[in-house]
C-alpha cells in the first residue's frame, strides 16, 4: 500500500467513525424514546437501563390507539376518573392532520398563483412583494398570536380547528410565497410563449405547462408548510380550549397529569407524533434540500 493510499484509508475510517459517533448522539433521543415506549412499566425504571428491551410490549401504543380509559384504583374499588388526556390521542392526531393539510393547501394555492402573476406580468410592486413576504416571514409567531386570538374571539371562532388553519396560513404563507417566487423565476418563459402562440389561453398554459414544471417547488413549499403546521405549539395553546379540539402538540403536554407521569405512554405518544413527519422527510428529502437551496430557511 502506498503512503497516499494509507492516508486515504485512514481518513476514510476516521470519517466513518466520527460520522457514526455523531449520528448516534444525534439520533439517540429518538432511539431511546422508541426503546422506552416498548418497555413494560417495570423495566422502564430498572437499573441498569437497557437499550433493547428485555420484554417488548405494545401496551403503550395500544392504549393510545384504542383510547383506553384509565381506571383509578382507590382503596378497594376501581373508579373511572372521567376523561383522561390519553384517550384523546387519536382524535388529536386527526385534528393535527386536518389543520396541517388544510393550511398547507391554502398556502401553496395562494402562493403559487401569486408567484406566477409576479413573475409573468409587469406591474408596480412585483419585486417588493416577495421581499415584503420575506420580512413577514421573519416576524416571530409570538407577535401574531395575541392579535389573531382577539380576532378569533370576535369572530367566535375560538376553540375551533378553523381558527388554527387560518393561524397557520399566517405563518406559512410568507415563506411559501418566497419559495414559489424563486422557483417560478427560474422557469423559462419560452415554453409558455410557444404554447401561447399555438393558441392556448393563459389559464391553460398555467395549468398544463407551468404547474407541472413548478412541481418540485410546490412540493418543497408543501413539505415546509406541513412541518411548520404539524409541529406548532404556540397557536394551538392559545386558540384551543376543549380536549376534543386539541392538536397533538398541545394535547401531549397534558400527559403531565397531577398524579404521575407515565413515561412509557408519553414516549409512545412522542414516537407516534413524529412518524408522519419522518415518513414525509424520508420520502421527499430530495425536494426539501432543493427547497432550502432557494433561500436560507426558517428555523
Amino acid at each position: 500500500m502506498t503512503r497516499h493510499e494509507f492516508w486515504t484509508l485512514t481518513r476514510r475510517l476516521v470519517s466513518y467513525a466520527v460520522l457514526s459517533a455523531v449520528t448516534f448522539l444525534v439520533c439517540f433521543p429518538l432511539v431511546w424514546a422508541v426503546s422506552t415506549s416498548l418497555k413494560p412499566k417495570s423495566e422502564i425504571f430498572a437499573t441498569p437501563p437497557t437499550l433493547v428491551p428485555h420484554t417488548v410490549t405494545l401496551e403503550n401504543y395500544q392504549a393510545l390507539i384504542t383510547g383506553r380509559p384509565q381506571y383509578f384504583q382507590s382503596g378497594d374499588k376501581q373508579v373511572t376518573s372521567g376523561t383522561t388526556p390519553a384517550q384523546f390521542f387519536m382524535r388529536w392526531f386527526v385534528n393535527s392532520l386536518i389543520v396541517t393539510l388544510g393550511s398547507t393547501l391554502i398556502s401553496i394555492t395562494i402562493s403559487t398563483l401569486a408567484a406566477y402573476s409576479l413573475t409573468r406580468f409587469r406591474y408596480w410592486g412585483r419585486t417588493v412583494v416577495p421581499y415584503f413576504s420575506l420580512l413577514g416571514y421573519m416576524v416571530p409567531s409570538i407577535i401574531f398570536v395575541f392579535p389573531l386570538f382577539l380576532v378569533m374571539v370576535q369572530l367566535d371562532l375560538t376553540d375551533s380547528l378553523l381558527s388554527l388553519v387560518l393561524g397557520y396560513v399566517c405563518i406559512t404563507l410568507p415563506f411559501c410565497m418566497w419559495l414559489m417566487w424563486a422557483f417560478m423565476r427560474s422557469i423559462p418563459i419560452e415554453i409558455e410563449e410557444a404554447a401561447l402562440i399555438d393558441g392556448a389561453s393563459r389559464l391553460q398554459v398555467f395549468w398544463q405547462v407551468v404547474l407541472p414544471t413548478a412541481l418540485p417547488g410546490i412540493i418543497a413549499a408543501a413539505i415546509f408548510s406541513m412541518i411548520v403546521s404539524w409541529n406548532d405549539y404556540l397557536f394551538g395553546r392559545v386558540f384551543l380550549n376543549s380536549l376534543d379540539n386539541l392538536t397533538l402538540t398541545v394535547g401531549v403536554m397534558l400527559f403531565f397529569e397531577g398524579t404521575h407521569v407515565d413515561w412509557g405512554l408519553l414516549m409512545a405518544a412522542s414516537v407516534l407524533m413524529t412518524v408522519p413527519m419522518a415518513i414525509l422527510f424520508m420520502a421527499l428529502q430530495r425536494h426539501l434540500v432543493a427547497g432550502f437551496g432557494a433561500g436560507a430557511v426558517k428555523g
Binding site: 431511546w32 398563483l113 416576524v139 395575541f146 392579535p147
Partner: protein, 299 residues
Amino acid sequence: MRPGYTLSDRAVGLLFIAPFVTAALFFMVYPIAEAVRMAFYSYNPLRPDLSAFVGLANFEFIFRDPLFWDSFRQATVWTFLSIVFQTVFGVGIALLLHQALPGIAIFRGLLLFPYIVPTVVIALIWRWIFNPEIGVVNYALQSVGLIGEPIYWLSTPSMAMASTIMLNVWKYTPFVVICVLARLQTVPLELYDAAKVDGAGIVRRFLDVTLPQLKEVLIVVIVFRTIWTFNKFEEIYLLTKGGPGTSTFNLAVYSFEQSIANLRLGVGAATGVVMMVMLSVGSIIYLRVSGFGEDEKAS
C-alpha cells in the same frame, strides 16, 4: 398577434395575485399593525371592556422592569452560544458529509432528521433522558465514572441554560449543514488541485480554499439563525418554562408570560414591538449582506 392575449391576460394576472394580497392584508399586515396598536393600550383579556389608551406606559413598564433586561441579556447569551455551536458543528458535519464515501447518503439523511421532529417531542424526550434521578444520561455518565453525583440538568440557572442551548443546537444544526453542504458542492475542484500542487496540507487547504468560499453563505446563515434564535419561544418554554426562577427567560417567553399569566396583553404587545425593532435591525444587516438589489437588476 396572440389571440385573446391583451384583455384576459391582465385579468388573469390580477386575479392570481388577488388571493395573496387579501391574505397578506388579513394575516400579515393586520396582526402586526394590531400588535403595534395594542402596545399603547392596557388590555386585560378577561375584561375587554376595561381596555384603555395608555400612551407609552407599557413601554415605561418594560424598560423599568429588571426582568425585561434579564430576559434580554439571557436571550443574547443564549443566542450567541447557540450560534457558535451550530456554526462550528454545522461546518464540521458538512465537511464530513461532503466526501464521496459509500453510504454517505444514509448518514446525511439521519443527521438532518432533527429538523422535522416537533419541538414538543424533543422537549419531552429531553426531560425524560435528562431526568436527574431516573434519566439515562446521568446513569451513563455515572457508570462511566465521569460524574460522581447526578447532574441536575434543569434545576440550576446555568445548567438549565446549557440544556436549552443543547436542545437548540441539536434541532437546528441541520440547517447550517444543508446550507454549507450545498455551497461546498459548488466549489470548483480545480481550486483544491491547485492548492495541492502548491504543497498545501489539509488544514491549509481548508483555511485558504474552503473557508473563503464558505464565507458568504456562512454570513447569511449566521445572520438568519441569529434573527430566529433570538426570538424563539417553544424551545425554551417547553423545556424549562423559563425557569428555574426566571433564568432562562428570553423576550418571547417574557411577552407570553406578561400576556397570559399576568393578563397584561398591552405589555406583551409592547415587548413584541421591541422584538420587531431588533428584528428590523437584523433584517437590514441581512439585506445588506445578501446583496439586495442585485437580483432586481438581473430580472
